[in-house]
């Protein structure tokens, strides 16, 4: 008799739920992780870094070293401190613009998709708004008032809203034609219940995805506005401002531009990765915005 070898091999370790999630959604994981790190750094900035406003003329334009991780600028200010503090401005602008555009866009999109009479008028107004470049609008608004965060956000939200409205409206129109919505109407469902129970839940996933794209584009526009001096006041350390101030010393102190630039690129990448991942996961039909 030949001894049958016992199957003593331990069962293969099964990847946990978390491992499975990471393998299936690498973009959500890496985008989300990067974003969480950036947000955590931004929130902890006062404890993590030195004072971003402290001038130290003796230590002007020092290259990155152990003492100044990202070097110093032409006034001897710590670029690391300024960059991390700059993340607060960018992330705040991105978040507020995304939330504001999503809310306004959702409301208008629902109205447009639901009431055919309003649709034509509102959509033409949206087309008009979409044609306004946010940079020009911001410059115009700032010449009328004082530069500030609120003006920057307003100037970015106005041209971003139409994009959200279009997405929401097209989704509402397609959901309205769904048999289950017709069935609900035939069953006497109307008004607020039809909207909140049957139409709204299906618009949320694409809205969140669209929100991440708006957020990424808002951060880029904010940096551009600050760079041009039409954004947040120049004394506030935002990435656009840091780059603008470092511009004249680019050849001798490239770190003053490269590092905030890299952070901007990384943040936008993180948000876009997260958005792409969420889109694939939540709503594969939604075409990527240009």
């Amino acid at each position: 008799m030949v001894a049958i070898p016992q199957d003593t091999a331990a069962p293969l370790p099964r990847p946990g739920r978390f491992g499975t999630f990471v393998r299936r959604n690498p973009t959500i994981f890496f985008g989300g992780l990067l974003l969480i790190l950036l947000v955590a750094a931004a929130l902890a900035a006062p404890w993590l870094t030195a004072d971003p406003f402290r001038l130290s003329p003796v230590n002007r334009l020092r290259p990155p070293s152990e003492r100044w991780w990202f070097g110093t600028d032409q006034f001897g200010r710590d670029v690391f401190a300024r960059t991390i503090h700059g993340a607060r401005v960018s992330l705040l602008v991105g978040l507020l613009v995304a939330v504001a555009s999503a809310f306004i866009g959702l409301a208008l999109g629902l109205v447009c998709g639901y009431f055919k009479r309003v649709d034509g008028i509102v959509m033409r107004v949206m087309d008009g708004l979409m044609a306004i470049p946010s940079i020009l609008l911001a410059i115009a608004l700032i010449t009328l008032t004082r530069p500030g965060l609120a003006i920057v956000i307003t100037a970015i939200v106005i041209p971003e809203v139409p994009r959200v409205v279009r997405v929401v409206r097209s989704i509402v129109l397609s959901i309205r034609a769904q048999p289950y919505v017709e069935s609900a109407i035939a069953g006497g469902t109307r008004g607020a219940r039809l909207l909140t129970r049957h139409i709204l839940p299906n618009t949320l996933a694409p809205l969140i995805v669209q929100g991440t794209y708006v957020c990424a584009s808002a951060m880029l526009i904010e940096a551009g506005l600050s760079f041009l001096g039409a954004g947040v006041p120049p004394e506030v350390p935002s990435w656009g401002n840091i780059i603008a101030q470092g511009r004249s010393f680019f050849q001798i102190a490239p770190w003053t531009i490269l590092i905030p630039g890299a952070f901007l690129a990384l943040t936008v990448l993180a948000v876009n990765l997260l958005g792409d991942g969420l889109r694939d996961r939540l709503d594969p039909r939604l075409a990527r915005r240009m």
Partner: protein, 336 residues
Amino acid sequence: MSEAPSLEVRNLVKHFPIHSGLLQRRTGWVRAVDGVSFAIKRGETLGLVGESGCGKSTVGKTVLKLMEPSSGQILIEGTDVTHLAGGAMWPHRRRIQTVFQDPYSSLNPRLTAGTIVGEPLENFGLAKGSEKEARVAALFERVGLRPDAMNRYTHEFSGGQRQRLGIAKALSVNPDVIVADEPVSALDVSVQAQVLNLMIDLQDEYRLAYLFISHDLAVMRHISHRIAVMYLGRIVELADKRTLFSAPQHPYTEALLAAAPVPDPKRKKAGRVVLKGDVPSPAKPPSGCHFHTRCPYALPVCRQQDPPLIEVAPGHHVACLRRPAGGDPVPLTPTA
């Protein structure tokens, strides 16, 4: 005939505009429904049969006022609802309910079965809270579902069970009329029979009037009392089931019946009318009788004259120039 019919449709027309070109100007109309009239009594089933695209579903949606009719009249229990829009139509929706074709897309995937079935009760303020729960549970039992399935989502149900949910929902507000648009065509044959028998039982119990839309003649034969045959937006023949199946008068009905498979291998194939060509576009319906382009018995006059729907025998209406009123059903000889 003292009481008003549960559902009456008079000369219903639904035309859809065609927009084309750079300026999206209206360049024509699709005549989906082109003058359809019928009446359904309490406890009666009228079958509406026809090929795809003949306008039978449009009739259903228009009657439900999910679409505005272009012209004509719709009366529910004698009340004219043709021009009632939005809020004015709403109280009448309780009287006319619907079972949709696709049991997969006609139930909101984000809601539980109990919520879907109980929604019309909530809408019309008929029951709330625990009373609603109890009524929904009773409805579940009535349509052959376990009441404890109320908390499940619709994807957990099979096609037949979903259609039972649709029926329970339609039934929840005690309607007079149910418009059933191909309610069983997405189901397996054995399940079809169960759902049809359930619908027949419910009809007997509640004296419901059914407008039953289908392309399936076997299903029609099972459930309908009377059958209307539609071709390109018009009713070409309307008769009670027995007459229609045994002695069809319109050439199109004849061809439709001949095309349906009969499970009898010994049946003679001779004399079968087989239609040639395709259904013309409803955007450009042929002049005169819509059917003359494919009719094997067409006369020159068929190209010019619209055949009216005339009663050739009591309760038997035919729209064919070769079938004058009172004429005997003589066999026709092909003209071409």
